[in-house]
Point group: C2
Chain length 479, copies 2
């Protein structure tokens, strides 16, 4: 992380996404406009996710956005969890409504109501449905992409014959999230189970993938829930099983949202602006004529040729032949995070070469014009992996496994503040008592991220009370 | 149109879309759930539209769904047009809002507000943005897909330097709509200009494509608006032009919605159920084993082979090897509108052939197993064109050009009712007086559909007053 980023990471983040033209604020509290360069990041994430959902047998559907108040009352934990954040429609077409309608924060209740009509027999199972939609959570503190009053997401909702099938689905979808976030967004994540206090409202078990931003804070990048029969009981979703008995289905739900856009920025960005993983960059290659190029028409012609050849390979590319100086253009496209820059000037043309520069590396390399397509393809692939490795090295360096007590954690945090470094996350033992978890939060603002499936080491004593640890938990500050 | 459809077209429509599993009603007034088979129709329409939008330089964005009441006040005609249909958020997170927020019926106002910040100079123009979103219009009478309180659509919003560019854009997008609706949905449309009384609230000129359903009623299948400088003036969207003067931009907007799904059903469906154009059918080919197939494992093996070969060609195909009888399966997949059925029984296998049947034709044909992929590809293509031709023949046969006066129109309608035929549409002259247009509606329930660009003939006298006609207009009953 650069000095500029360290000084005020949030300020850097907000300035960067605005300068890079990803979003704009609006007069509606906490609601942003996704500008084309911001929205296209979402389109690429959507396409990658959607393909994998379909390959695993899911289909998309669309459910009403407005949810009757009475639906929320049916699942006690659910209503307690979401009520404080709901916006309500109370009038329509000039009349007061008999029942208030909530703007959906998530669709378990509406879908529970419908599934109870759709599912009659084991032959109807599993139901494997996903929805791409806007949702609303009227939160006090907002941050573009990361926490907004309205955001875009996908929510999968499945129903199964038994617990085993439902748990298998829950894990399958968490694994898909991990694969996309790591391979497409180049963001390493810890996968694991949430502690009870951090569970989705109404879930039996919640699993998450957790990503570390450059300021050391965590973003919960995706969650997958085993809901047991809680919603089935609340909405009476019963089916005739193979033994001819009416029993409850087991349901799951899982979601990822536009906060993934924010995570990409906060994991890869630097003091020059965005650094976008090639797989989701709206522009993957920017071609810039340099030197006295206007006097040599052959330069633009050659760039057009390269542009065409790259496009034919499915590479998203643009030529910047505007009147600005090369230096201005370099800054501009670096700010926008374009992975690869190609420069071509009169001398390069004479030497039958171009200059290639990757956004995240300092040196430039010369590439013969004949092999430029090949070189670009290779660089996009290499950079995709390199960004992941860099992010992983950063994440690992800031994942501390040598802290065993609350006092040590406080000392670690104090040292970070003194040294101007980030505190990162720590791996701590936990006895399983909510009070011990709450005390960590109270005294350090570190919250439990998840109980990782594969902790780098196992902790034997609770970080708070020192008794025997039942779980090894990642703790960190979170968005 | 079959007898069953004639008797009560709406009843047939609602029963068919429910039996075919496209949608379900919900307890929220006028809001439906799009089930996977219904939603997938939309996904295919989206993909076809979106590709064409991008090919013509448009990019997607996303704007807030909630619109402050004060925004609507800024354009007088706009607020008058939409106010009666708005649902309002008045409270959120337990507090009453200071200003009511409308659920967007369309986004001109929010986008107008933002464009006024984004557009500064002619270098920023044109702005070519599209949005895929949910919108709300709280209407009294609803009909699934065709008119629902919440629906899905796309809305393009562009800004240009001058009227000429904006009008070119308006027509370009209308032409894209016509091309998609005709070539992808196999629905012939009349393209033309709306009369002033049927204009979009706030437009200078509205253009539409109009499709005739099997009951003779019209669906406005897409609209494209030249908004002039009306929204630019309301939201102060000014730019520095090439002559260094601050002037208003000229804007357009254009939209198509999930009512296209309803149109497909009402144009192509028959008494057996849906008839889906191959290009958007979720399942294009259904493979069904017949005869005593369970005793001959080679049958399912061969179907698997064919299934695989079709999939490799990108054809959406399924095998129905359930325990139901072939007759039951035939009905089921005909109801769902699957374009092509392949049957394979023991005798067929001996003869090295399959039976192929197109959904919209009566006869079955034998095809050698070696050439089945080729035959299917050809049939899908032929059927796509045939559905268009059938729909066009129907539309043309019910587009009457020989009616010149209101009395003749009334007689025509009376005859239709007596004979149990549909009145269809009529081409009428119009003097341009709103009162004459209103009288047609009052006395016949026929409304002006549009002033076609290429009328089959030109009318010289106004259908109502008999004076000189300024326009030749399609009139018909509409959804």
């Amino acid at each position: 992380m650069s000095q500029q980023q360290t000084n005020d990471f949030t300020k850097w983040y907000i300035e960067t996404i605005q300068k890079a033209d990803l979003m704009d604020y609006t007069p509606v509290r906490g609601c942003i406009a996704f500008k084309p360069d911001g929205y296209e990041l979402w389109e690429h994430i959507q396409a990658e996710m959607d393909r994998r959902f379909k390959e695993t047998g899911h289909r998309n559907a669309y459910f009403p956005m407005l949810i009757p108040e009475s639906f929320f009352q049916k699942e006690k934990e659910h209503v307690e969890g979401f009520s404080p954040e709901l916006p309500w429609v109370t009038e329509a077409a000039g009349e007061k409504l008999e029942e208030r309608l909530a703007l959906r924060p998530t669709s378990e209740t509406m879908i529970g109501y419908l599934y109870s009509n759709w599912i009659k027999s084991y032959r109807d199972l599993p139901v494997l449905i996903n929805q791409w939609a806007n949702v609303f959570r009227w939160e006090k503190k907002t941050l573009p992409f990361i926490r907004t009053s309205e955001f875009l997401w996908q929510e999968g909702h499945t129903a199964h014959e038994n617990e085993e099938d439902a748990r298998k689905e829950t894990m399958q979808m968490l694994n898909i999230y991990k694969e996309v976030v790591e391979n497409v967004l180049a963001i390493p994540v810890y996968d694991g189970q949430k502690t009870p206090s951090e569970r989705f409202a109404g879930a039996v078990d919640t699993y998450s993938i957790e990503a570390m931003m450059k300021d050391g804070k965590a973003v919960q990048a995706g969650t997958s829930h085993y809901l047991g029969t809680k919603f089935a009981e609340a909405f009476n979703i019963k089916y005739l099983n193979r033994e001819n008995k009416h029993v409850y289905v087991h349901t799951t739900s899982w979601g990822t949202s536009t906060r993934l856009i924010g995570s990409v920025i906060m994991v890869h960005g630097d003091e020059k602006g965005l650094v976008l993983p090639p797989k989701i960059a709206p522009t993957q290659v920017i071609l810039i004529p340099v030197g006295p190029w206007k006097k040599t028409p052959a330069i633009l012609e050659k760039l057009e040729e390269i542009h065409k050849a790259l496009k034919e390979k499915g590479i998203r590319t643009r030529i910047d032949d505007s009147d600005q100086s090369p230096g201005f253009k370099f800054n501009e496209w670096e700010l926008k995070g374009v992975p690869v820059r190609i420069e071509l000037g009169p001398r390069d043309l004479e030497n039958n070469q171009v200059i290639l520069k990757a956004r995240d590396e300092d040196e430039k390399i010369s590439v013969s014009i004949e092999s430029v397509v090949e070189a670009v393809e290779k660089e996009l692939e290499t950079m995709q992996k390199r960004l992941y490795e860099k992010a992983k090295a950063f994440r690992d360096a800031n994942s501390h496994t040598d802290i065993d007590t609350l006092d040590q954690l406080k000392e670690h945090i104090a040292n970070s503040e003194k040294n101007g470094t980030i505190p990162g996350w720590i791996l701590g033992g936990w006895c399983g008592d909510d009070a011990c978890e709450a005390k960590v939060k109270e005294e350090t603002k570190f919250t439990s991220r998840n109980i990782p499936f594969n902790p780098p080491t196992t902790k034997h004593t609770c970080i708070t009370c020192g008794k025997e640890a039942k779980h090894t938990v990642w703790f960190g500050r979170a968005y």
